[in-house]
Amino acid sequence: MTATAALPLVEQFSYGLDAPICLTWELTYACNLSCVHCLSSSGRRDPRELSTAQCQAVIDELQRMQVFYVNIGGGEPTVRPDFWDLLDYATGHDVGVKFSTNGVRITPAIARRLAGHDYVDVQISLDGATADVNDAVRGSGSYAVALRAMRHLADAGFAGFKISVVMTRHNVGQLDEFRALADSLGAQLRLTRLRPSGRGADVWDELHLTAGQQRQLYDWLVAHGDSVLTGDSFFHLSGYGSALPGLNLCGAGRVVCLIDPVGDVYACPFAIHPAFLAGNVREPGGFTRVWRESELFAGLRQPQSGGACESCAAYGSCRGGCMAAKFFTGLPLDGPDPECVHGHGERALATADTAAAPRPAGDHSHRTSPRRGPVPLTLTRRPPVSECNANPLAGFAPPEG
């Protein structure tokens, strides 16, 4: 159309907006699961978590700023006792909600309530089309819980809920199965990129897609992209040729950001680290002031240098890829993405001091690991010495010598 402004939309967005287009809001670090790749290293609730009233104040601000929807996650957001009330409060204040859940609290009654809610969208996380692939990443029994939740939503008539999959080396071969599952439930498939963020930093080397798998995913997205959501997270794959649907840019601090459970505002949900911390919603001026005045965000809204990438023909489409992926693999921010489709990332990783890569901050992982396999314990019966001998040493004979 001739009625366009001087700059393409992507350029406009790279200089930031007065309010985010949407944002991610993690309501709690508490989670019933311990997924190995958790982007926020969730598990235990943080005692400084925002109260109900503080959450409502944030929603009031989002309404004033006309942020039309938030992507709520965690942790497992539905374990907050006030979660359903906050959901109603947000939608009652013109802030639509898309929330991500592992499905643990999606009972038939909750599913019916959600199905009747115009402004709410639900994403069930599933990282394998089969229980073995899923549970290896998300924990024993998590596949069954997710599938149960999906069936409840489908039975309640919730059309178009999302099945949200983090692509890994082990599930990329299941793309068609994921889509068949979504189709059978009247759901929509959403695929996102594994980042080396949170606990993901510990498993990225083993789980991120191989070069061949990236190509496989790209070809699949080109063939099926119109019916699959990606959260625009694979823009680094645009380096293969034609751009994928969506905004092909890093929106961190420009059009999106993260509010974490304690109110800290980070440039993006995959960047929980002091280097990307812009402020806290509890400070004077609230979220609005952090968004509009933080030095960090002002810096991100300046023209960025592509560094070594600028001479590459693909730079115009991939724009150097994901900031968080570079940061947590120890690569410079003005160089290639570690998964650069032209192999520049792999070469950079080979020479980078990856041991010195910054560690994700704010670990809320469970302090114990989930039990895998049987407990190594033998149960024996030792009858009392006699009916009434209460001496704790009854029957005890010290070893000779």
């Binding site: 159309m1 001739t2 009625a3 366009t4 402004a5 700059l7 939309l9 406009q12 907006l17 007065d18 309010a19 287009i21 949407c22 006309q66 039309f68 929807y69 013109d94 639509g96 898309k98 115009d118 402004y119 969208d121």
Partner: protein, 103 residues
């Protein structure tokens, strides 16, 4: 809030400039330097208006007897009508705008 119009347009039908349109009831507008963000709370879809002039047209729809009149009221030159028609067609296909009697 399914709209027969959007189905027709999705099949490649032409946007009718000569009937009365309006913003769909569940749509909100956020003005921006480049134009505006539109969000439909029912379909949960986001659209971008890529110029302030297009925003002026969209805002004027509800008070004008036709989309053509809304374009004229926003000082859109006749030569640009085809591109505005395409832009409005895209919005109608996304259910962002609908016929006035449908609202």
């Amino acid at each position: 809030m399914a709209c027969a119009v959007s189905t027709e347009l999705a099949r490649g039908g032409e946007f009718d400039l000569d009937v009365a349109w309006r913003l769909a009831p569940q749509v909100q507008v956020r003005p921006e330097r480049f134009g505006a963000l539109l969000y439909h709370f029912g379909t949960r879809q986001l659209s971008f208006l890529k110029s302030p002039a297009l925003l002026a047209v969209v805002r004027g729809l509800a008070t004008q007897p036709s989309a053509r009149a809304a374009c004229r009221a926003a000082d859109v030159p006749d030569a640009q009508l085809p591109s505005y028609r395409r832009a409005l067609g895209t919005l109608a296909a996304a259910q962002m705008i609908c016929h006035q009697e449908a609202a």
